[in-house]
Symmetry: C2
Subunit: 229 residues, 2 copies
C-alpha cells in the first residue's frame, strides 16, 4: 500500500461532538441523549434525501432543519435561544484529545493531510480554528463545491482531484462506518475509527482497516506506509 | 386537480407491518420494539446508501442485511430459524383493515390504481396475494426494474411511464413522509397517510395533502376528483 495522503471526515472523526449532547441534556434534562441521537440521524437522513432528489442545501441549514424536526418529534419546546445555543456548538467543537498530536506526527512523516466533509466551508473553518488545527491541513474540502453530500461519488471524487493522486493512494479516515464503506466502494484505501465499538455495517463491503481511536490510525500508518516505500 | 390514477407505496401504506414487530417481541421479549424500529431504519438507510453509491441489490436482500446488522447491534442472537421467521413475515402481511374497501371504491370511480415500491417483484406479488388484493391494481411497479430505490427520480419516473400520464395527474400515496416529500419534489400530486400522527419532515417541501388513514384518502379523492372533472 502506497499511502501518500490522508483525508479525514470531520464531525465525530476529528471533532468531538460530545459537547452537543451535553448541552442538549442541560437544556432538556432527561431528553438530551434522545435529542442528540435523533438530531444526528435526521441530519444524515436529510443529506441523503436531498442528494438523491438533487435538492441540495448547505449542511448548516440541513442541520438546523434536523434540529427543528427532532424537537417537534420529541415534543420539546425549542426556543430561539436554545436553537442558537445548540447550533452554536458546531462552531466550537473540541478535537478528540489524541488528535492534534497524531495529526502532527502524520504530517511529520511527509504525508499530505486533508478534510473531506459534508460541512459547508464556513462551518469547517470555525471548527478547525476552535480545535486548534490551523495550518495542519493542505486541503479542507467541502461537498458544498459540488452540491451533493457523501456518499455520492462526486463528493468522494474531490479528494483525488485536489491531491492529484488515485483514490487507492489516499487513506480515507472516518468514524462513521457508512462513510468508510462509501469511500471503500469509491476506491479509497480506508480506515474506520470505530470509537463506539459498533458492529460493521452489513453493506457487503468493509473498511480496509479499523481501530478504536486515532492512535490506532497512527500505528497503522507507521506500519504500512513504511512497508509501501 | 385532475387525478386520473393513484399510485401507492406498499409497506406501511397498503400492508400493515405491525405483525413484524409483534413477532420480534415474541422472539426477543422486551426487545421486539427496538429491533423492529432499528431494522426498519437500517433497511431504509441501506437502500439510500446503495442508491447513492450505485451498488443496488434487491430489497429482500437489503432487508435481510438490515436484520442481521440490527440484531448484532442490539446484541440479540439471531438464529437461522428466527431470521427465516422474521423475513417470512414479509410474505404474509395483512392489509390495513380499511384498505380493501377503499381501494375498491377508488377503482369504482374509474381511477387506475398501481403500486410503486422498493420491494422486489416477488415480495410484492406475495404481499398483494396475502393481503387479498389480487386484481385490484393495473400496475405493480418495483424499483428493481431500474435498480435504484426511492427517492431517486428514476424510481418515481416509473409511474408516469406506465400510466402514460404526467406526474401531476397521478396521486402518489405513502405513509412515509419522506416518500411523499420525494414524490412531491418529483412532481406528483401527493397524499401522506400519516397513521402515526408524526410531524412533517423539515425538507422545505410538504405533501399536497394529508390524512390519518385510507378513509381520509377516499374522502379527499371524492371531493377533488369530482371538482377536477
Amino acid at each position: 500500500m502506497t499511502i501518500q495522503a490522508i483525508l479525514f471526515d470531520a464531525y465525530g472523526t476529528l471533532f468531538d461532538v460530545y459537547s452537543i449532547g451535553a448541552l442538549a441534556e442541560r437544556l432538556f434534562p432527561g431528553r438530551g441523549g434522545a435529542l442528540a441521537e435523533l438530531w444526528r440521524d435526521k441530519q444524515i437522513e436529510y443529506t441523503r434525501l436531498r442528494t438523491l432528489c438533487s435538492t441540495y442545501k448547505p449542511f448548516w441549514e440541513v442541520t438546523q432543519d434536523a434540529l427543528v424536526f427532532s424537537c417537534r418529534k420529541l415534543g420539546l419546546d425549542l426556543t430561539l435561544d436554545a436553537q442558537n445555543a445548540l447550533m452554536g456548538q458546531y462552531a466550537k467543537l473540541q478535537a478528540f484529545p489524541e488528535n492534534r498530536e497524531v495529526l502532527q506526527r502524520l504530517a511529520g512523516m511527509g504525508l499530505k493531510l486533508g478534510i473531506l466533509s459534508n460541512g459547508n466551508p464556513q462551518m469547517l473553518e470555525s471548527a478547525v480554528e476552535a480545535a486548534g488545527m490551523n495550518g495542519i491541513f493542505h486541503h479542507i474540502l467541502s461537498v458544498d463545491a459540488i452540491r451533493k453530500f457523501k456518499t455520492a461519488p462526486e463528493a468522494y471524487q474531490l479528494g483525488p482531484d485536489v491531491f492529484g493522486l488515485s483514490a487507492k493512494n489516499i487513506l480515507f479516515v472516518s468514524s462513521n462506518c457508512w462513510d468508510a464503506c462509501g469511500a471503500t466502494w469509491f476506491g479509497y484505501s480506508t480506515f474506520w475509527v470505530n470509537r463506539s465499538c459498533a458492529p460493521v455495517e452489513e453493506l457487503g463491503v468493509t473498511p480496509d482497516s479499523t481501530g478504536t481511536d486515532m492512535r490506532d490510525l497512527l500505528r497503522f500508518v507507521e506500519k504500512h506506509v513504511g512497508e509501501g516505500k
